[in-house]
């Protein structure tokens, strides 16, 4: 073989491969992005959303996703192993948006509202979803304040004749425990503050005029925002807008006359409208839900349900699009 003995050839080949191996940077694993998209299991803290057939044609391929917004809207996890209701709703909306078979969304709203920011989180997601698929809002028992705010993101709103809705406005509940602590419990609170209004909204003392005006300014901003959204999405005329401006509640029938909702009906009405908007003849209404697991049994869904029936709960402080917390005049 001349100068090239077999041994030398072999070492040459090995050398070439060695150099190639050191020089070429070919990842032996797919890139992070591909892995993230392909993970079939939910990540820690997530729970897989399930679906069940609700109504419509069972054998149809196309689906209308039914997503529920129930109870007060706060972005607070109810237990340590679950996401907050707001995050779960957003995740469900994202799933409905991505899934090709889901052609439309029915948003079932049964909520007196909640914290402004949290309501806006869901609203923003609804706007994003609405660009791709039609959204129909179905108002159940109560869809006041924040609940109605979310309904405004939908193309069409359906309500029962006696659904309680409206309550457009912003609110802040600031309890005053001054007398309770000082007179009944004998505890006096002393507050050392850096500025006059540093402890604005303090529950230990009466609020003076100045502070009321400051807080009123905040409330007015929030109210204006809410009103603008309602007027824009429902195409309200100024006199209609004035009717709702004082934050009153309306029944379903009344709101139809004013223009706050589009149709009076039940779930089936909403389904028909959704099918029409999605240009479908037949569809399957599929409800998105989370199956409770064994932890929910032991640790319960929420630890704060300690209220006696009939005794109203002290509502959360903070800026809210809220009518009244649960236990209010509509019971629950």
């Amino acid at each position: 073989m001349g100068n090239w003995t077999r041994k030398k050839v072999a070492w040459l080949i090995i050398g070439v491969f060695l150099v190639l191996g050191l020089v070429l940077r070919i990842p032996h694993q797919p890139k992070a992005k591909q892995i993230k998209e392909a993970i079939p299991f939910p990540e820690v803290g997530e729970r897989k959303c399930r679906q069940r057939f609700l109504a419509g044609t069972r054998t149809a391929r196309e689906q209308i996703a039914v997503i529920k917004v129930e109870g007060e809207i706060y972005d607070r996890p109810e237990s340590y192993y679950r996401r907050s209701p707001v995050e779960e709703i957003i995740a469900q909306l994202e799933q409905a948006r991505e899934e090709t078979e889901a052609r439309g969304i029915i948003l079932k709203i049964d909520s007196p509202g909640g914290s402004i920011i949290d309501v806006e989180k869901i609203y923003a997601k609804l706007e994003e979803v609405r660009k791709q698929k039609p959204v129909v809002a179905l108002l159940e028992n109560v869809a006041a304040s924040g609940g109605y705010y979310l309904a405004c993101a939908a193309e069409k709103i359906v309500a029962h004749p006696l659904t309680i809705t409206g309550n457009v406005g912003a609110v802040m509940f600031l309890p005053n425990f001054g007398d309770l602590f000082e007179k009944k419990l004998g505890i006096r609170m002393k507050v050392i503050k850096s500025g006059r209004h540093k402890d604005i909204g303090s529950p230990w003392r009466e609020m003076n005029r100045e502070e009321e005006e400051i807080l009123q300014r905040l409330i007015n901003q929030a109210y204006q925002r809410f009103l603008d959204i309602v007027v824009k999405s429902r195409n309200l005329k100024p006199d209609q807008a004035r009717l709702i401006g004082d934050g009153r509640i309306f029944s379903g029938e009344e709101s139809k006359n004013i223009g706050l909702v589009d149709e009076i009906g039940t779930f089936d009405t909403a389904l028909e409208i959704a099918k029409k908007l999605a240009k479908l003849k037949e569809a399957k209404a599929v409800e998105y839900y989370y199956r409770p697991n064994i932890f929910d049994l032991f640790f319960g869904y929420s630890q704060s349900r300690l209220s006696l029936p009939g005794v109203p709960k002290i509502p959360e402080a903070g800026l809210q699009y809220l009518w009244l917390p649960e236990g209010g005049i509509y019971g629950q």
Partner: protein, 171 residues
């Protein structure tokens, strides 16, 4: 030819070569491994890794099954077969032709039949594919015993050597 007592083959080799030590043979395997490693990395340019499709609830299970099989399991099995074929061809053809893989060649090792005649393709097939792939594959962990056997064997034969009736010499 003679009517004398038949000449027995010398049991131990008064060969001018000697049996290859286990350490050298191991090193040869390591070098082969390096070649495979880089080779398959290079091939990954042309055959990118397949990922399982994400599970999205909704939709029929049959479709999902088809998608998994068609887009993921199918190509994965084909790629596995392809790599297997490459590996087997490398070992069998090189050992059959030259009596050594590239790693062994680099270290001066040679696989020959017990009477020092060169191995044929058939022997190579038995040694490399039949025993090393199939039988050791079935035996799983016990296969290590097959390789380690050369340690204390007098002719330094591993199980695949014994079955194919070969020995490995250091030239």
């Amino acid at each position: 030819m003679d009517s004398e007592a038949p000449v027995a083959l010398a049991p131990a080799p008064p060969f001018h070569t000697q049996y290859a030590s286990v350490g050298l043979r191991f090193l040869a395997v390591v070098l082969d491994g390096l070649i495979f490693f880089v080779l398959f990395r290079l091939l990954r340019i042309f055959f990118p890794v397949n990922l399982p499709p994400p599970f999205v609830p909704g939709g029929s299970p049959l479709e999902f099954y088809r998608e998994i099989m068609g887009k993921f399991m199918g190509p994965m099995i084909l790629k596995g077969l392809f790599y297997l074929v490459i590996t087997v061809c490398y070992k069998v053809l090189l050992v059959g032709k030259y009596g050594a893989t590239i790693g062994k060649m680099a270290l001066g090792l040679k696989v020959v039949k017990e009477d020092q005649s060169p191995v044929s393709y058939g022997t190579a097939l038995i040694r490399e594919f039949l025993v090393k792939d199939l039988i050791y594959g079935v035996l799983f962990f016990i296969a290590w015993l097959g390789y380690l056997w050369a340690f204390w064997d007098e002719k330094k034969q591993t199980w695949h050597d014994k079955i194919a009736r070969t020995i490995v010499l250091k030239v």
